[in-house]
């Protein structure tokens, strides 16, 4: 009986490894053909613009709100901590701004957009796949990669950095709000804490990462969409996988991107 359990355990693990390898292989193929089509045929700018509007407009309220509260809680926590040690809230602006501009802004914005726009992409392309609309595109003379994937990837690359900059601002604004109301820190102190310590390269550090996240989230969402199988249930599965994989990979890749950028001196 123990043998059967071990066998099914290893069998399951083996199947999982096989599936993962196949997925990664197909994913790389899709990335490759995305790059190929970018040079091969004119870009569908109209589609790109439509996607930009959708991703940007849909996501802006959620990302702004997320970051506003993140800034608030950062100010609250850092103020409380320094009050505990120094009896006065020190460097609240610095803590808030550095945390947000270098890490939380890019990461949380990407995660929220993955949940909002990434899920929408996977569900839309998944539905198109199971209703043969993607095959129809092909028979009508265009390539799904060209018509569906490239506009979405480009839209992400254009919009996510932009959303992140807005998120950074709203986050810092949230921090300002709490430090004024809760800790009674003068506004000039809060802003000086930021501008005296922060340099362009700190912003660039976070900004570069947004491009990596944008590419990652859009490619994963498109990949899960176009490889959907099996009707409505399949669409649900693809959407969930797109969001979960995007979120996990954002955090994993963030670590390595940070390490790389630090090694390059952009920190």
């Amino acid at each position: 009986m123990g043998g059967a359990v071990t066998e099914s355990l290893f069998g399951g693990f083996g199947a999982w490894i096989l599936e993962l390898s196949e997925d990664m292989g197909q994913f790389v193929f899709l990335v490759r053909s995305t790059f190929q089509w970018m040079w091969r045929a004119p870009i569908e700018w109209r589609q790109t613009l439509i996607q930009m509007a959708r991703i940007g407009v849909e996501s802006l309220p959620v990302t702004a709100m997320t970051m506003f509260f993140t800034g608030m809680v950062l100010a609250l926590q850092s103020g409380a901590t320094s009050k505990h040690f120094f009896n006065t809230p020190l460097f609240v602006g610095t803590v808030v701004a550095f945390s947000i501009v270098m890490e939380l802004g890019p990461v949380l914005t990407a995660i929220v957009v993955a949940g909002r726009a990434g899920a929408a992409i996977a569900a839309e392309l998944g539905t198109m796949k199971v209703t043969e609309q993607i095959d129809a595109l092909y028979t009508l003379g265009t390539d799904p990669v060209r018509y569906l994937i490239i506009p979405r990837v480009l839209a992400f690359l254009f919009v996510l950095p932009f959303l992140t900059v807005i998120s950074d601002f709203t986050g810092i604004l949230g921090g300002y709000f709490v430090s004024r109301v809760k800790y009674d820190i003068p506004g000039i102190t809060y802003w000086h804490d930021i501008v005296d310590n922060m340099q362009i390269r700190h912003f660039v550090h976070g900004y570069i990462k947004t491009y990596i996240f944008a590419f990652l989230v859009s490619m994963i969402s498109c990949y899960r969409g176009v490889t959907t199988r099996g009707g409505a249930e399949g669409v649900g599965k693809s959407t969930t996988r797109a969001v979960v994989e995007s979120m996990v990979l954002i955090l994993v890749v963030d670590y390595f991107a940070t390490a790389l950028l630090n090694a390059m001196g952009i920190t």
Binding site: R40, A41, M128, V130, T131, E132, Q133, D135, A136, Y138, T139, L140, G141, T142, R229, G230
Partner: protein, 270 residues
């Protein structure tokens, strides 16, 4: 002329087509019949190039679909075909007119100013009027099929491939679609392959019929030959009987390979 030579199609370990040899002469309508999962739709997708045959060749007017390389060659090949999908596969984010004209941009040099007229003309050919600005979700099943057909013929192809054109329609609408197919053959002088499991439809629209069974072309002949043949497989299918050689086979298939049939279907739709 469409010529399939020894077409084999495998999806992973599963063989869907086991060597199809078929010829469709210019001007004729070949009806392909056969049970679900026998490879009819897969064959159609091999012809248009949605699936690449694992072995064998599909040659259309001297062009080998497996040997197309450049963009221009592929476009030139695809321009010859209109494809009617089983469920229509209309783009639900676009209006009827946008759906119909979608391919014109990629397949033809028609200026955009003419699109509206082409949409109306194509709709008229399938018997519809004043639906240009509707969304597909606002149409009935029969109307969707007609719009999908209008989209397939918008770029005036030489060949039309029909994937189960009457499936899911009521008997009257099925016959209307059959008439429409005949009408299009007459008006546009196209060559067509109609994949169906509706015998009435096959008899009506086919100038020749081919029956697929387990990935092979079991019999090819005129509708008259199909009506009189004593091949037990064909007889069973044509007469729609549950008892006969095919049922036995299906049972064996299910026994040695349970749960494989749905997976094969999903793969076939890739």
């Amino acid at each position: 002329m469409i010529e399939a030579i020894g077409v084999v199609k495998r999806f992973g370990p599963r063989t869907i087509l086991r060597g199809i040899d078929l010829k469709v002469e210019t001007g004729e309508t070949l009806a392909i019949i056969g049970g679900s999962g026998c490879g009819k739709s897969t064959f159609l997708k091999c012809v248009i190039g949605l699936h690449a045959p694992t072995e064998g060749r599909v040659v259309v007017d001297g062009l080998d679909v497996t040997k197309l390389k450049t963009e221009a060659e592929i476009a030139d090949y695809r321009r010859r075909f209109g494809y009617l999908f089983q469920e229509g596969a209309l783009f639900d984010s676009m209006t009827v007119a946008e759906n119909i004209c979608f391919g014109l941009k990629y397949l033809t040099d028609v200026p955009p100013s003419q699109y509206r007229k082409i949409a109306s003309d194509s709709l008229a050919l399938v018997g519809l009027k004043d639906v240009e600005d509707f969304k597909p979700s606002e149409l009935s099943g029969g109307m969707k099929k007609r719009v999908a057909l209008a989209r397939a013929i918008a770029a005036r192809p030489q060949y039309i491939l029909y994937d189960e054109p009457t499936t899911g329609l009521d008997p009257i609408m099925s016959d209307v679609i059959n008439d429409l197919i005949l009408d299009l053959q007459k008006q546009l002088k196209v060559t067509a392959i109609v994949v169906t499991h509706d015998m009435k439809s096959a008899y009506k629209v086919g100038t020749r019929i081919a029956m697929f069974h387990e990935g092979r072309a079991l019999m090819t002949g005129t509708p008259q030959e199909f009506k009189t043949t004593d091949n037990p497989y064909v007889r069973q299918f044509v007469d729609g009987l549950s008892q006969g050689p095919i049922k036995m086979k299906l049972k064996e298939f299910e026994a040695d390979d349970s749960g494989a049939a749905p997976a094969a279907k999903a793969q076939g739709k890739r």
